[in-house]
Each structure stands twice: as structure tokens, then as C-alpha cells.
Symmetry: D2
Amino acid sequence: MIRKICVVITARASYCRIKTVLTEIRKHPGLELQLVVAASALLEKYGCILDSIEKDGFCITAKVSNVLDVASYTAAAKTTGLGIIELASLFENIRPDVVVTIGDRFETMSAAIAASYMNITLAHIQGGEVTGNIDEKVRHAVTKLADIHFVAAEKAKMRVIQLGEVPECVFNTGFPSIDLALSVMNTSNNCDSDICKNTNPNPTTKYLVVMQHSVTTELQCAAKQIQETLNAIKTLNLPTYWFYPNADPGSSEITNEIRKFEEKDHNHLIRFVRNFEPHYFLKLIKSSSCLIGNSSTGIREASFLGVPVVNIGSRQAGREKGSNVMNTDFDCIEIVKAVNNQLLHGPYPSETIYGNGDAGRKIAELLAIMPFSTDKKIAY
Amino acid sequence: MIRKICVVITARASYCRIKTVLTEIRKHPGLELQLVVAASALLEKYGCILDSIEKDGFCITAKVSNVLDVASYTAAAKTTGLGIIELASLFENIRPDVVVTIGDRFETMSAAIAASYMNITLAHIQGGEVTGNIDEKVRHAVTKLADIHFVAAEKAKMRVIQLGEVPECVFNTGFPSIDLALSVMNTSNNCDSDICKNTNPNPTTKYLVVMQHSVTTELQCAAKQIQETLNAIKTLNLPTYWFYPNADPGSSEITNEIRKFEEKDHNHLIRFVRNFEPHYFLKLIKSSSCLIGNSSTGIREASFLGVPVVNIGSRQAGREKGSNVMNTDFDCIEIVKAVNNQLLHGPYPSETIYGNGDAGRKIAELLAIMPFSTDKKIAY
Amino acid sequence: MIRKICVVITARASYCRIKTVLTEIRKHPGLELQLVVAASALLEKYGCILDSIEKDGFCITAKVSNVLDVASYTAAAKTTGLGIIELASLFENIRPDVVVTIGDRFETMSAAIAASYMNITLAHIQGGEVTGNIDEKVRHAVTKLADIHFVAAEKAKMRVIQLGEVPECVFNTGFPSIDLALSVMNTSNNCDSDICKNTNPNPTTKYLVVMQHSVTTELQCAAKQIQETLNAIKTLNLPTYWFYPNADPGSSEITNEIRKFEEKDHNHLIRFVRNFEPHYFLKLIKSSSCLIGNSSTGIREASFLGVPVVNIGSRQAGREKGSNVMNTDFDCIEIVKAVNNQLLHGPYPSETIYGNGDAGRKIAELLAIMPFSTDKKIAY
Amino acid sequence: MIRKICVVITARASYCRIKTVLTEIRKHPGLELQLVVAASALLEKYGCILDSIEKDGFCITAKVSNVLDVASYTAAAKTTGLGIIELASLFENIRPDVVVTIGDRFETMSAAIAASYMNITLAHIQGGEVTGNIDEKVRHAVTKLADIHFVAAEKAKMRVIQLGEVPECVFNTGFPSIDLALSVMNTSNNCDSDICKNTNPNPTTKYLVVMQHSVTTELQCAAKQIQETLNAIKTLNLPTYWFYPNADPGSSEITNEIRKFEEKDHNHLIRFVRNFEPHYFLKLIKSSSCLIGNSSTGIREASFLGVPVVNIGSRQAGREKGSNVMNTDFDCIEIVKAVNNQLLHGPYPSETIYGNGDAGRKIAELLAIMPFSTDKKIAY
């Protein structure tokens, strides 16, 4: 019997992190893909991914719009509550055999609760990592609701098992985004013209990439934190691609500071961008001289791609990091110093902490053959 | 500064399990009680507790009605989603310093998500235990969202720590319901006339109590399971107080079987009841000859009260049990045999696995003096 | 191009009132039926109609469970709000060309708002009538949201036009339930054995039918009102089919009184029932000696079937009534007197105030050929 | 007994339209004000009014955030559904004697349904007018749910009565925003320095004001429509205050075009603004040489203030207009021509179609003395 695999994408970044899994599910004769796009993944201002999905030829089973306006704490809770209601109705209708939820953003909880409460087997991708932020709570709570765990690193596997999950249900498949990174590694080193068509700075020269999100447990400092980075980038005076932040509480504070900055510094080399297709996104990262901010991309994809990273603040504290990462505080001078050091150093050797490029295939195969169950007990 | 402690009661049984904590919070000069009654705790058919609360003199800060009709899987998910939305609005309004959520029923997740997503310190009572059912997932997921843990047994404390919580935030205070049980222990051994006023069987004679809930991971067997117990009780032919089930998926299947049974066996000794005030409830348990079913009351309060228990099926599998508990399958003959053995044995000595009667005071004091934080990382 | 007609059924009684329309839409080559079953139509305790629908061979496009437990005012509002959310997602998915909503119960507003706010043409069945109750507000508000009106009587048509609707969009098609009544008229006069199989009283003898719902603007009297009717029926001492009330605020008060009555008067001739298939329901009405209560069935179907009716209280005040209807207050003695008069009188001649039996066909044809628009202005 | 009057403000513009009513309720010894701010009234991007409210010294009883991100049709429906749920809980808690809802934007329906379904007397301000758009449906549907009507013009009163409302419950009090306009009329003719502090163009010179919202029934033309106006304003080459659009479906299309325009035409005389305090807003309108767009401000306040208006497209079709209004299509050349004509003409005499400045006092007095009822029938 063909198994119905329902993958719920709730954020821009998740598409990149699941794309090779979707491809492998689609190819597998024993699996049927049910693709649900929900929450901030549908919002243009956070980088709508519908075009990329369509271009890649995936059929969307349903769209679920559930994001409340204003990226506040209260809105995050309400968005999640509304997501549970909508996904419950949807799951009742399309009756998946397993629901796959990705990562640790607050919206992933909607899929996790709807599926587990409805006695549907829940698979979680990217459990067992350690960070700061509400993400840390969400990630481990989802692990405790999930029946199957596809983790991306050995330490992550150990932690999921420590959390009382039976080892037979925990698989270190690597991180699916590394699959894409591998294919990017195998193309020419120069950033090709595809990117250039859509962007400003000349990509044959050095350029920086900034990805800085809010830290939900430090919201009162959001404006100050982004100012430090903005000033650092201004000081560095290099062509820069700057990604708008995720739909977290605090994102509007960040966006406001960016706007103010833009109004004052109109002719700067900074290009503010929202979203790239997964492939071009990774090419952009690969060819950059330094990735700056607090995105997990700097920790995971960048370590595989050997891109120098300046990781700022507490958001990624606890995650395993490669030798390509330098940590700093939210301090303009420190950031400038660290970036200059990374520019001097140049590219790092590729590391496989987060996988070696076949996560998608492994996950699809496990979904096809694993026994499914919703009954589990804490193991110890 | 006075700390605002918001206690969210979402189910009938939770009032019993938190009452002494409420009393101690109310008495404490450094604490202000915000009492929220929500979900099935408001529904008459599951035993509305508003009268008891009023009689005990507590002010209700807000009522939140969020239960969907039909006790199905989908309804459980939607009820939880709606609860998050409503509690988020409420918390924004009343701005508690800490939210206290109790136990492991699916509705507790509403308070846990609303509070943690809104960066409010979350305290959880009764984490770390092991059972079957969706409760097992809910309980540990709430632990991972919570910042402070008031557990009821040493093994529970060990498990919460195993789950990566820092030991400084995990307190074995005992189970607050044991506080009430202690006061019941100190009254006369005979069931007094207060109960008799409201009930049928003559309480000076032997009687049984049945509390059987659905097992959400075994819904397809719900009707069959309750039939076995109904037949066993019919065979035993003793006066019996039978509590209607909780608002879980599967409860309507149970209620339907009870109705059918009532229509056929009209003059039987069984008295179907919904709710008792905490004090009378425990007196009723204390004076019963045997408690039958799969309620955690049989595991916790009954072990302290020394009441013989026949625990049926998988729902309480994994919970520490006292010597008063005999386990059986859902099988009429087995159940009858086990009850008869317990009737022969009579009362057991009191055990303090789940506390010695001062949980309420301990919890209130810790809430008054503990440093509050919402920032945590998995410890290992 | 085939038009997609989405019919939303939100209550038990609505299936009866739309069945011939569904049949005609299904038969029409230019129409595709999208059948949505929602709200109390899904709840067993209010008479779940899923079995009837399945037996009649209709495919259900989606089920939407959105009823909050406890039939209170607040629950009515929340149920409607939740219904809007769920139907909006559904409509976005199935993209109907027109949404059909039926009648004047509060849940119909969910479909009306979701459709009109989403710029989908809205057709309303049964506008323009006059009653008491919240129904009166709901009915006319839905008229103002709707683009097409299929009314059931000439006066209703006049009233919809008075409300500012352009006459070209208002059609007196008659009431679809009369189509079913016509087919029942054409069968033998005796209630056939199909009903007997499922029911208690001997249907060859005289029997009464009672259908009494709560009056939402008079909730404080709900218990008293039902007691009067219960006492009247007890006094009349005839076999009686008594239908449980609709899912309105106040229904639980009625149900409680019925339960108390049942406990006291166990061996009475009253048979409390929940739901009948449309055909058997109309046969039951047709063969009854008198229909008692405040249901619109007494006003509409019964006038066509010539069944004597005793209409109690204000709920149907304002609706056009045939000569078969006697009005009384909620007063036991008055009710008994009126029923005895009706028993003496016996059947009335059939009247066609609410149609002559081809409403389904007319409505389907109009849905196939009418120009659809969502842009209207009040006409005067 | 003091009557609790709950006023629900759901949009930026509504504060201006209710402010003098709030002032009069607060002053009235027989009334207690419960002020609820909800929906887009809370969103900064649509002009958050919290600061104005605070500055005017009103206490906010509760804030209800219920707006879904993305201003789409589906989001409008879901926002309304969520609003009903939240307001139902709130009304249950604060138990108002009457709920006041304002105008005809889609969010007003939330308050109307929650109140009417909960059997709370509903008063509606601004019924009986005629426009295009979904507003037209919403306005009249709210009238049919409301018990008391405070309209702003004689023709509006006639229309509400035509809709079947009893004349005793329909009051032409005038439009409360005219009360503010009157006080602005009585101040000096020149735009004073308060405005200048916050804005760019020199207010002593001629300037234009643009307020253009989307037409929800013509969404496919939204981008084209705003482009015509943008080009017209560019051609006119005068200092211009341009207000961002309301939170309607289609507002993001408008905002996008504005952004594109800003990127291309950076040094233009146009100043894009979000919100002004009611007093300064009216001063700005009063001193402007011409008000351009499709806002009802051009029809109502501007006719009292004698400000020349160019009203574009169908949105205000049907509303009574003063001699100050010239209508055009969405056509750059036509708009330019009409504005130039208005500039030549200069100010118009004040007209009192929408009231003479004492609406707030009249409404508060009626709320204090009117008999309240929720039971009504269509009158004809």
C-alpha cells in the first residue's frame, strides 16, 4: 500500500531544508507526497516560496494562511493556535499516514500538535540541536510529540535519545539542505550569471551576506542589535546582500531599523533581499566572502560549503559549529574586526558535521519502510 | 513586588489536584492568584467544577470556553488551538508573572504554548511520570516548554532531569491532591453522612468505585473495553459509584455503552456520577472497598489512602505504583477475579510515593521566591 | 463551462429542506455539486444526517466540525466565528462559483460571510419570512449579504424586495421540502411499516408529534416553556413522537427538562427521537393526528400536507400560516384544549402557500443559467 | 442603574468618527464607557490609533488583535471569524448593556455578530448609506442585526426604515466626525504649526491630499487604478499628503505600486503618511486645496468643511454628495483636469448633509434614555 506523506512547510527557510526530501518522496514508488504550504511561507514580505515550489514542479495539496499581522509574542501564539485548527481540518480530509514537520520555528508546533493529537504518526526533521531562543523549547517539545526523528548530526542524535526517544526511531540522515549544497559544490566556483540578473553588486567581486533574525528572548534589545550590525556593515563598505528577517516576534523592530537606515543611507552598497530559490541562495552563500548574522545557515550549510562566518550573539549558542565560524557579541567594532579576520582567512575546508549530501534519499527510504506507530513511552 | 500567579484549570480532575496550591497562593502575602477556568472544566457533562470553586471562595479571573462538541481526535486538536488563541488574548490582558499548568491532558498544552510563546515563565505540575496514551506525549512536551517543574515523585524528578531540565528548576514537592488526602485520612474512617445525602447506595456497606477513561491510542477498542468492565461490575453485584469519563477522544463511545447498559439493566446497584467536590470525592475513594478502572487516582491518591485498586489496561502503564494496585487486562473474568482478591485483602498501609501532604505549601513558597526566567537550554 | 455549486448544510433540518435541490443539481449537465456538511449537522445528539446523505448517494466534499460544546449564546457566536474561518479556507481550496446557504439558523451566517467576503456569489434559500428569535435577524442579514434569493412564498418575495434587493434576483421557487412532501402525498395514506420498524407506538393508531425549540430571545423561560408542553402531552395521553431540540442556545435547558421528565415518568407513551430520514420524517408528520410545538415544519410542510398543527408561543410569529394552524401560548391547559380541537377537526385540505413541489428543479435551473455577480446596491 | 456602553473600534478611521461620542459617554453620569480597540486599528502600518486614544485620555478596556496578515479576501473572512470568537469571550466577561459598532468595513461585522448572537443590544452608527464595494453588503447586513440606528443623513434614515427597521429606533443624529469638523471650522483658517512639525511640504502654500482605497469588487484593477492617480499627482506637481490605504483586500497591491513609484521618483513633493490625530487630520483636510481619491472623508467631512473634492471611481457611488464633489473615472488625464478645475474654484460653502456638529451629544443621550431590546421584527 502506498503511504501518504504529508510535508508541512511553514516558513521560507524550510523549503530549502526539505526540497531534496520532497524530490525523493515524489520519485519513490511506495510514497505519495501531500505538500502543505502554511504560515509565513505564504507571505511575500517574508519571502514567499510558492514560485520556487511551482518552478520545481511540486503540486501543492493545500495552502493554509494563518499568520496574524504584527510579529508579536501574542501573534505567534495565536498564529499557532489558528494553524492547529486549520491543519486538523485538513488532516481529517486528506488522511495522511505520516506528517513531516521541519525545524524549530514556532509554527512547526501547529503541525506537530494537530498530527499527534489526531493519532497520526509524526516525523520531525532537525531535532536534537541546541540553540537559544523560543526555538530551543519548540524543538525539544516537538521531539516529545514526534514518533520518528531525522536528525542532522551525531550529537543531535545523542540528545534526542537522551530526551527519552527509543534509538530505533532516531536516524542521523544529515541535513537535507546539505544535499543541495553538495550539488552547488559540484558546479563552478564563480557565482554564475543567474544570480547577477536579479541583483545589484557585481558578484565577481567580494561581497558579504547578512542574515540576522530577532532573538525572541531578548526582544527589548532587537533595535540595538540590528543597529550594531548595520553600522558594522556600513563601516566594512563592501557589496552586501542583506536578507530581511524571519516572521518572528521582533521582526518588525528589525525591519523598522532597516527602513530608517535606508532612508538615511540611500546610495550604500547594501542590497536588501527577501528570498532566493534554494539553488541560487546556496550559490550566493557559497561565493560570498563572509556570512554574517545569527542564522543557522551560517552554522550548517556554510560549514559544508566552507564559507567564513561571523556568528553574532546567543541565537545559535549550543549548536555544533565548524572551524569556519567566529563568534562575536552584538558590537559594531567586534563585528568589523571578526569580518576582517575572516576576509583575510578566506574559504575553509568543507566539513560534514551536518551530513554528506544524501539526506533526502535516506529520509524518503525510511519513510517507505519504517513501521509507523503513535504509541511511545519515554525510554531511559 | 507581588507576583501574579495565573493557574489555568482545564479539566474536572485538575481542581482536586491544585486546590491546596490555590489555597496557599491566596494566603501568601507575596503572591496574587489569577484563576482561569477553561475547557472541559466548564462543561456540565464532564462534571462542572464552578460550584466547588465558588464554595471554596476562590475568585475566577476569567472563564474560557473552547471545547468543541464531539469528543474526537480532530476536536481535541481544534479545542487546543482555540484555547491557545483565547489564552493568548487573556494573558496579554492580565499579564501574569508565571502561568501554572497542571498534568498531562491534551488541553494543558493550550496554556503551555500560550505562555511559553509569550515569553511568560511556565510552571508545570506533575511532569516526569510515565503512562500510555497521548498523555505521555503531552506531558513530556509540556516539560520541554516549561521553566519550572513541580513533580510528585522521586522517579518523576529523575526523568524530568533526564529530559534535559536543569536540576535547580525541578522540585519534588509531592502531589497536591495528597494534601487533601491527608486531611481526609485524619477524619473518621467511616464515610460520613455528607456523601450519603447525594448518593444512592448505603455507604456503610461495602461499595466499589469505577473510573474508566478512554485510551486515545486504542480508540477502536473503546466500546469493547468498557463493556468488559460493565459486565465485571454487573457480575460483582455490589453497590458501585461509576464516574463518567473525561472529555477525551473516545469518551462518547464510553458514554454510549453506559447508556445502552442503563437501558437494559435499569435497577442495578450502579450509580453513575459526574463530579464530587474534592473533599467528598476523596472520602468516597477512601471508604470504598476497591477502586477499579484506569484513572491515575487509583495510582496516586489511592496509594496514599491505602485503598485497594484494580488497574485495567495500558493507560497507567509506566507510572510508579504502590502495593495496593493489581493490574489486569480488559477482560471481564480477570477483572472480577482481581476485585475479589482485593475485597479479601482489604485496606493497604498508606504509602507516600506521591508526597506526604504539604505539596501546596511548598509550591506556593517556591513560586514566591524562585528566580523566574524563560531562557533555558537542554542540560546534559 | 460547468458551474460549481457549493451547498453548505449546517443543521439537521436543512438536509430535508435542500434534498431535492441537491438531486436536481446532480442531474444537471451544467452544474457540479460541492456538498459541505458542517456545524450541528455533524453532531449525533442533534440528529446526524450523514447516514441519510450517504444512503441518498451524495458525495460529501468536506466536513467542517465547528460547534462548541454547551449550547450557550457565547458558543453560538464562537461556533459561527470558527465556521467562517474554516469555510474561508475551504472555499479558497475548492473555489465554488456560487455558495448556497439555507434558512435562518445562526450557523448559516458562517457560509454567508465567508462567501460574500471572498467575493463569491451567494445564493440564499428561504429569505423574506418573518419570525421571532435571533433567526429574524440572521435571516434578513443573510439576505443583505446574498446576491440571489430563492424564496418560498409570495409575501416573502415582497419582503426581500422591500429589503432593497433587485426583483430580477428574487425568485419564488417554493420551498424544496414541499417537493418531498408532494412525493409523500402521492403514497398511501397509512404510515407504512418502514417507520414502525424503528419506533415504539403503534402507527396505525392516532399519534402526536412534538417539535419544540428554544426561543433565543426568551431563554430565561426555556425550562418553564418546555414543562408546559410536557405536562400537556402527559395529559393528552396519546402515543407521541417527540423530537429533541435544535442546537440553539437554550437547547440544553430543554434537554434537561426532558431528562427529568423521563426519570419521573418512565413508562409513558412518549418516544423521544433525534432524526429521521427526510422521507420517513415527512411520512411521520403526514400520518400524525396533530403536530405540536414551534417548529417551522408545522407552518410550512404541514400546511401542504394538511396536518393539524398547534403552534405555541412567539417563535413562528409573523410567518404566513395556513388554515391548519392554531396558535396558543405556553400554557398547558390552552395547549391541551387546542390539540383536542384539532383532533376533533382532523386533516385539512392541502395548501400551496410554500410551493407546489417543483422548487428543486426551479432552483437548479436558475443556478445554471442566471448571470452571477457579487456587486449590488440597495434598490429602492 | 448605570448603563455599560461598549464601543468597538476596528479601524483607523473609526476613531475620528466616534471620538465625540466617546467624550460625551464619558461625561454622562448615567453611562459607563467600555472601549475596545481591535483589528486594523491596532496595526501600525494602517495607522495605529493607540497614541491618539491615550493622548485623549480614554481608558482602553481591552485590545483584540485578530487581523490576518496578507490583505486578501480569505484573510478578511478569517479576520472577521477570529474577531467574533475573541469579542464573544470579551463580551461574556465585561457584560455590556449595549455594543456600539461603527460604519461598514468588514471588521465591524465581528462586533455585530458577537453582540446580536449573545442577545446584547446592538447600536450601529452610519447605517443607511449607499456605496459600492463589499461595504454595501456589510452595512445593510449590520443594520439588520442592529437594534438601534444612529444615521448621519435624512436619506440614510429613510433607507434604514425601508430596510424594515421601526422608525422609533432610527435616529438621524448626524455624523460624529462633523462635530470635530465644526471645532476645526472655528479655529483659524491657516493650517497651524502643529501639523508642520510632523510633515514635509510647507503648509502655507497650496497642497493636495490623496486618500485612495481598494475597491474590493474590482481587485483585478487595483494596481492600474492607483497608477492613474499616481501619474495624475505627479503631473499636477504640487505638495501632496498621500495616505496609505486601509486594511482591505487589495491594499497590498496599492502599497506595492506606491513603493515602486517611490523607488523611481524619490525627490517628489509627495509625502506618504499613515495616520494623524483626528484634530490634525481634519485641519489638514480643511486647509488643503483639493482632496482626491475615493475615501468617504471626501463625501462627508469635506462637504461640511467646504473642501473641493475629486472623487474617483465607483467606491462612493450612491452616497449623497455635496456641491464640493466632482466625480471622475480612474483616468490620469480626467483626474488632472478635475483637480485643476477644483483649484480654480477654491473653497465651497459649508453644507450640513451629514450633520451640524452635535452628533456625539445626541447619541450619548439616546444611549442613556432609550429602552433597550433585542427582539425585533421586520416592519413594513
